[in-house]
């Protein structure tokens, strides 16, 4: 069977072998999505609500707090992604020639990949908070007279702390995915161009950057989607008066009054929808990426 000549048979076999894992992934996600969608339409039998309606969405889409949260989340994700991407490109270009030679360097740029975001968020909080280490250092050095004089970087209104955490975490992530491409594909082309007399800027523009672009875009979309839906970092580093969208959903969800449940679910549906759009974009770029390579 395994080595069956028939393509059809092999495909069926493959599908059959994939089925369990597909089920494991799709069933909980599907069920979760179903329940979320259902509850967002006001279906909460726990409190005797069984009629479906779009009321919650109607309320949500005229709510000032919702739009303020949505735009805050989008801005934070956008800035985190853009800054991370630029820094990652610079880092990758600078480091690529050393990476193979130094195990330490390899370790250094990858060490924070397995660390959870919560750890990063706590670290940022302890480092940059108004009573954090930097503030204390500044106070000790006589630069500031009191903790309140230290710039507000954590739990601030524009999400500086959140963005910094994401940058810290995502720059290496994007950089690693670019470096792997640079190492594997670009070098021979660059050598060729150099032999043909191209300047370094020309080499970058004609070869290096175009090769970098697909992994850069796809990893950036992952970063954007992740930061947009992430809860723990804005929970720790965000301000209560400027909640990110997931925080808004969480607050509605933990309200002991169960009539707030549909609101939480409607917000989750909005987050899901935006993430799904991003995943489609990612798939598109991923395709593009493989086409270029082959």
């Amino acid at each position: 069977m395994f080595y069956s000549k028939s393509k059809k048979a092999r495909l069926w076999l493959l599908a059959g072998m994939l089925l369990p894992s597909v089920l494991v992934i799709l069933v909980p996600v599907g069920a979760g999505l179903w329940i979320t969608g259902e509850q967002s339409l006001g279906y909460v039998p726990l409190i005797g609500q069984t009629e479906l309606s779009l009321d919650v969405y109607r309320e949500l889409f005229v709510s000032r707090i919702f739009y303020s949260s949505l735009s805050f989340s989008l801005m934070v994700s956008l800035f985190s992604t853009l800054i991370s991407a630029v820094l990652a490109v610079l880092l990758a270009l600078w480091l690529r020639r050393y990476v193979n030679k130094s195990k330490w360097l390899q370790f250094l740029i990858q060490f924070n990949l397995p660390l959870p975001h919560v750890v990063g968020a706590m670290a940022i909080w302890m480092l940059l908070g108004q009573s954090g280490y930097l503030s204390r250092l500044a106070y000790w050095a006589g630069i500031i007279q009191e903790p309140a004089a230290f710039p507000v970087l954590v739990q601030d209104q524009v999400g500086a702390g959140i963005i910094l955490e994401y940058i810290w975490k995502e720059v290496p992530f994007i950089a690693v995915s670019i470096i792997s491409i640079l190492k594997a594909w670009v070098l021979p082309y660059e050598r060729q161009l150099r032999l043909l007399g191209a300047s370094s800027w020309q080499r970058f523009r004609l070869v290096t950057f175009p090769f970098m672009l697909p992994p850069l875009l796809s990893s950036s979309i992952i970063v954007f989607a992740y930061t947009f839906g992430s809860f723990e970092v804005p929970y720790i580093l965000g301000s209560v008066s400027q909640p990110a969208l997931p925080i808004l959903a969480y607050e509605a969800y933990t309200n002991p009054d169960l009539t707030y449940r549909p609101e939480a679910m409607a917000i989750n549906m909005v987050i899901t929808l935006i993430s799904v759009v991003l995943v489609f974009l990612y798939l598109k770029w991923g395709e593009h990426h493989t086409v270029q390579q082959s």
Binding site: R64, S131, A148, Q157, V240, E251, N255, D257
Partner: protein, 424 residues
């Protein structure tokens, strides 16, 4: 196929029984035995009957200190002096024990129930009371009830719900302000919300409160509501939206007036009491709040509060609440449960629970003024040991206000978000 079907039928019948419970159509079965336990004529008889029994006590199991107090301190005395074996059954949430009792009631197990005693208060008590699944009134029959001040409305009412002797008080907690004596002159302490406002305006950036719906943050707003609306008494009735909306208006104006003078100009608030305590500890603000009646010495020892931190309460009062133990109507070992509830009120046991050696700094359930002889002097000793890091119990008691029912809680939390937090 059989099992899911059976489960469905069980579930449906449970739902039916539940709905009939709440309408009160099921009568509590009260045996002659129960009647004799409740007659209160002879405590010796109760103690006699309890001998050799095992009391199954369901309680929240999330704290090692509390667990060891229950097992070691309480359990040992129960065994040695009363021949009662204590079996502590830890639950994550008191609702688990409540549901167990309700399930037994639905299943028609009116005797020999598996739960003998529950550590309980607030909504969970209300649920059992509504379902008529409680044994009692037993609280005032206990000999040690003599130490409890049952004329205190805060003990009689549990979150605005009359206890009717169906639960016996065990301990207490109360909102207190904490200030830093090295930065705030004790003579200039604000002792009402009115004075607090002046203080905040004179000391911009040095005060904040943790954001509701954090429990303690909500209490801070609730007390303000009491003061500005002319006392708690008028809010003991069910919530009337229109009336509440009018009365709460000054609360929002007050909080918005102080907002620009708060820490960081009120653009944000600490999310939890832990965050507020960190700000206080780092000298970013001059006040924080606590609930432990045993004082803040433990916090100071752990370095979580400065040496110069001191608790105090407002002249206008602060909200306190009591927590209790209750016996289900179908408990198998009611006598042993009563003996346990009684032992918990023993001054010695109360002191140990309050201390940080064997207990967890929990507040007393008994009234210190009702103590005599040895116990009274022991209490004085504890008070002087705590020194300045605890508010004297008499002072706390004198200023204690009852809490509001959950509907007000919700209305205040929602209102705060709408009228204060997101009001730019």
């Amino acid at each position: 196929m059989k099992k899911p079907m059976a489960a469905l039928i069980l579930w449906l019948s449970a739902a039916m029984v539940l709905s009939s419970c709440s309408s009160g159509s099921l009568e509590v079965v009260r045996s002659a035995e129960d009647a004799s336990l409740l007659s209160g004529s002879s405590w010796e008889q109760v103690v006699d009957e309890a001998k050799g029994q095992q009391v199954n006590w369901y309680l929240w199991g999330g704290s090692d200190v509390i667990n060891s107090y229950v097992d070691q301190t309480v359990g040992r005395v129960l065994k040695d002096e009363y021949g009662v074996t204590l079996k502590r059954i830890p639950v994550n949430d008191t609702a688990e024990a409540v549901n167990k009792v309700l399930n037994e009631k639905q299943a028609g197990r009116h005797e020999e129930g598996s739960v003998d005693l529950i550590w309980i208060n607030g909504e969970n008590f209300n649920t059992l009371k509504q379902a008529e699944a409680l044994f009692g009134p037993f609280a005032e029959i206990l000999p040690n009830a003599q130490y409890v001040d049952y004329s205190n409305p805060a003990i009689q009412k549990d979150f605005g719900n009359d206890t009717e002797g169906m639960e016996s008080v065990w301990g207490s907690a109360q909102f207190q302000f904490v200030y830093n004596a090295s930065t705030v002159d004790p003579d200039e302490l604000p002792r009402s919300y009115e004075e607090l406002k002046v203080w905040i305006q004179n000391n911009p950036g040095r005060f904040t409160y943790n954001a509701p719906p954090d429990f303690i943050g909500t209490r801070f707003v609730k007390q303000l509501f009491y003061e500005l609306s002319g006392g708690y008494e008028q809010w003991e009735k069910p919530l009337d939206q229109a009336e509440f909306k009018k009365a709460v208006e000054p609360v929002w104006s007050y909080l918005n007036e102080i907002k620009p003078h708060l820490w960081r100009g009120g653009e944000t608030y600490p999310k939890s009491i832990a965050e507020l305590q960190t700000l206080f500890n780092n000298n970013e603000v001059d006040f924080t709040f606590v609930q432990d009646l045993g004082g803040i010495q433990a916090e100071i020892n752990k370095g979580r509060m400065p040496e110069t931190a001191r608790p105090y309460v407002f002249r206008t009062g602060t909200i306190g609440d009591y927590h209790y133990v209750a016996i289900p109507y179908n408990a198998k070992h009611k006598a042993a449960a009563m003996v346990t509830a009684n032992l918990l009120l023993e001054p010695e046991m109360q002191f140990k629970k309050m201390g940080t050696q064997e207990g967890w700094g929990d507040g007393l359930g008994i009234h210190p003024a009702k103590l005599e002889g040895e116990a009274a002097s022991q209490y004085k000793q504890i008070q002087s040991d705590a020194g300045e890091t605890a508010v004297p119990a008499e002072v706390l008691l004198k200023h204690k206000l009852p809490d509001l029912s959950p509907a007000y809680n919700q209305a205040l939390e929602e209102g705060w978000r709408k009228h204060v937090l997101f009001q730019k």
